[in-house]
């Protein structure tokens, strides 16, 4: 043993691998093995065939759920962008103290368990909650259903995912050389044209990062849509859960999971070819 270590020590290029070994082992046991299991189940349950994939890809119910998942992820991404961009801009263009305050507020919600945040939305938007109460108080006779709709699940997901968008855009904005903006001004640009021709393109990498991240996380979101969303507008992760927990249809659930994984990897691959995956985390 001692001799082995001594030999290894003479080959320093092996050390990083040795240090990575526990992590690699962990990933292999708790990630790759179950993933392989899911992949195998998707083509063997209940019998060896591609029938599960065929049903998922052709069945109208599944198509609708997939469509709904993409629509929701798209809406959430768009909403995160619309909320996040101005906030990131504000952070970048206010005094040090204000920026710190916004950062604190943004990251504070980031560090709260999202289960807690999800329940908080249930309380806020529920039929006896303050929002409905306010609507009644200002004179609405019939109040709209807020909870268990696409609105409530989208709102909660935006709340949860907006920090990813904000941090990504902010980190890019912070790196923009102010001299570029001055130079644009001296060349005659101002206001909206300055924003459209210079500022927006310069922040585009941050927008792309944020959008990909939010979209991809959103595709696989489980808890929030299940607890807050409309049962008629299920998302794919929720459907997988139902398949496995209620119908014990392991094959169908696995096939859907594999398709979701493939779509996610495809998006990341496209992003990687365009921008480089290493930039995704800022």
């Amino acid at each position: 043993m001692g001799a082995t270590i001594a030999r290894l020590a003479q080959r320093p290029n092996l050390w990083p691998w040795l240090l990575l070994a526990p992590l690699a082992l962990y990933l292999a046991i708790f990630f790759l093995v179950p993933l392989a299991d899911v992949a195998i189940m998707s083509v063997t349950e209940p019998k060896l065939s591609l029938a599960n994939y065929e049903r998922v890809l052709t069945g109208t119910l599944y198509q609708r759920v997939f469509f709904n998942t993409f629509l929701t992820a798209g809406l959430v991404t768009l909403a995160c962008l619309l909320v996040g961009y101005p906030l990131a801009y504000l952070m970048n263009h206010s005094s040090q103290r204000t920026a710190m305050l916004i950062l604190l507020l943004v990251t504070m919600s980031f560090w709260t368990s999202f289960l807690v945040r999800t329940y908080a939305w249930m309380v806020l938007l529920g039929n006896n909650g303050p929002v409905i109460g306010l609507l009644r108080a200002v004179g609405f006779e019939t109040t709209p259903q807020l909870l268990f709709t696409r609105f409530s699940s989208t709102l909660a997901m935006v709340h949860i995912l907006a920090p990813y968008m904000i941090m990504n855009i902010y980190s890019v904005m912070r790196k923009i050389d102010p001299v570029l903006i001055r130079s644009a001004e001296s060349l005659g640009a101002r206001g909206f044209s300055l924003f459209r021709h210079i500022y927006l393109p310069l922040t585009a990498p941050g927008i792309a990062n944020g959008c990909v991240l939010v979209f991809v996380i959103c595709l696989g979101f489980y808890v929030t849509p299940v607890l807050l969303g409309s049962p008629r507008e299920q998302m794919i992760a929720g459907l997988i859960g139902t398949q496995i927990e209620e119908f014990l249809a392991f094959g169908m659930g696995s096939a859907m999971a594999m398709i979701l994984l493939a779509v996610t990897l495809a998006i990341l691959a496209i992003y990687h070819r365009r921008f480089g995956l290493d930039k995704l985390w800022g």
Binding site: D177, V179, L180, R182, S183, A184, E185, S186, L187, G188, A189, R190, S193, H197, I198, P201, L202, A204
Partner: protein, 354 residues
């Protein structure tokens, strides 16, 4: 002198700190003016006030007699080249140059054609399609210059545009910038702290020190008739000798040199304190005194050889003197020896005490 750009009593304070104090300057149309001065002397601040990115605490800036102090930077029609070029990384060279035209609502096809013409003028024919990161430092510099000139600005400001280039490229760009400036006749202010650059390029040099203008004059006047001791010391190499006027006709006396003849450029009177300036290249080194020149004996401490010339540093009494000699002439002496140094009265310039 009809002035085109007029800086009128401009003072700039950052909190308690006074970055510029009562700066007055007037620039003629088409003139090439260089701001020269040590770091922190207020060159960039002055430029930024002209460009509109900083507001003067007091004073005014006028172009053709009209105040521009209230105009925002984008309304001033002033072209600026920043030290790090500040090219837009997401636009090609041609799109960068087209940008100011685009902001002036000039159609894309006509604008891009004009941009290409401008790129040809700065020697970048056929490179319009490249992105800034695909261009060398010198090429980026040229794009920045083309972009600052393409919209026919009323003024061109360059803030140490050559600072990041190596020596050869620098000299090449100095000539290039001069050529383009002459071709277009644009009034130009060029900031540098490289004095030889200032000497070779400018119609006029403005020497800054601690937020004030020490002198604004032609390169030759700056060199041969510096207004202050600071200018004499900052521009070129110099021997500066404190002295007192003995005769208004041109005799001054100093402790180290004794009585010393000079040709007064400005009226002086006996008893005035002055600083005598003798440039090292105006001093001759010899074994024996030379007739018709002021001769003193010098002890040689150090000889620095530069190949085509040498710098001889020695002492005349307590006074340190620097002498420039051509390569061949230096062989007559060695370090540690005594020799004779001499100069003509017209090589001595008396700087009045402030």
């Amino acid at each position: 002198m009809t002035s085109y750009l007029q800086i009128d009593g401009v003072t700039k304070k950052f909190g308690d700190f006074t970055a510029l104090e009562k700066v007055d300057l007037s620039v003629r149309k088409g003139e090439f003016v260089t701001f020269l001065g040590p770091s922190g002397s207020g060159k960039t601040t002055t430029l930024m006030i002209i460009a509109g990115f900083e507001k003067a605490t007091h004073g005014d800036v006028l172009i053709e007699g009209r105040s521009i102090s209230r105009l925002a930077p984008h309304e001033r029609n002033i072209g600026i080249v920043f030290q790090n070029y500040a090219l837009f990384p997401h636009k090609t060279a041609a799109e960068n140059v087209y940008f100011p035209l685009q902001m002036r609502s000039i159609a894309r096809s006509a604008g891009l054609r004009k941009a290409q013409e401008m790129l040809s003028l700065v020697g970048l024919e056929g490179m319009g399609g490249r992105y800034p990161k695909e261009l060398s430092g010198g090429q980026q510099q040229r794009v920045a210059l083309a972009r600052a000139l393409v919209f026919e600005p009323s003024l061109l400001l360059l803030d140490e545009p050559l600072g990041a280039l190596d020596k050869n490229l620098r000299e090449q760009m100095q000539i290039e910038i001069k050529r383009i400036q002459r071709t277009l006749g644009v009034t130009t202010i060029f900031v540098t702290h490289d004095q030889s650059e200032a000497m070779s390029m400018s119609d006029r040099i403005v020497v800054f020190e601690k937020g004030r203008i020490e002198q604004a004059a032609t390169p030759l006047d700056i060199y041969h008739r510096p207004a202050t001791r600071f200018v004499a010391g900052f521009v070129g190499e110099s021997n500066l000798v404190p002295a007192e006027i003995k005769d208004a006709g041109g005799v001054a006396e100093s402790a180290a040199l004794g009585a010393c003849d000079f040709e007064p450029a400005e009226p002086v009177s006996p008893g005035d304190n002055v600083t005598l300036l003798i440039r090292p290249e105006h001093i001759r080194l010899s074994r024996k005194p030379i007739e018709g020149r002021k001769n003193v004996s010098m002890h040689v401490d150090t000889i620095v050889n530069y190949g085509d010339n040498s710098l001889v540093i020695g002492r005349v009494g307590d006074l340190q003197m620097r002498v420039r000699v051509l390569g061949a002439d230096v062989v007559i002496i060695k370090e540690g020896e005594d020799c004779c140094v001499s100069w003509l009265p017209e090589s001595v310039y008396a700087i009045p005490a402030a």
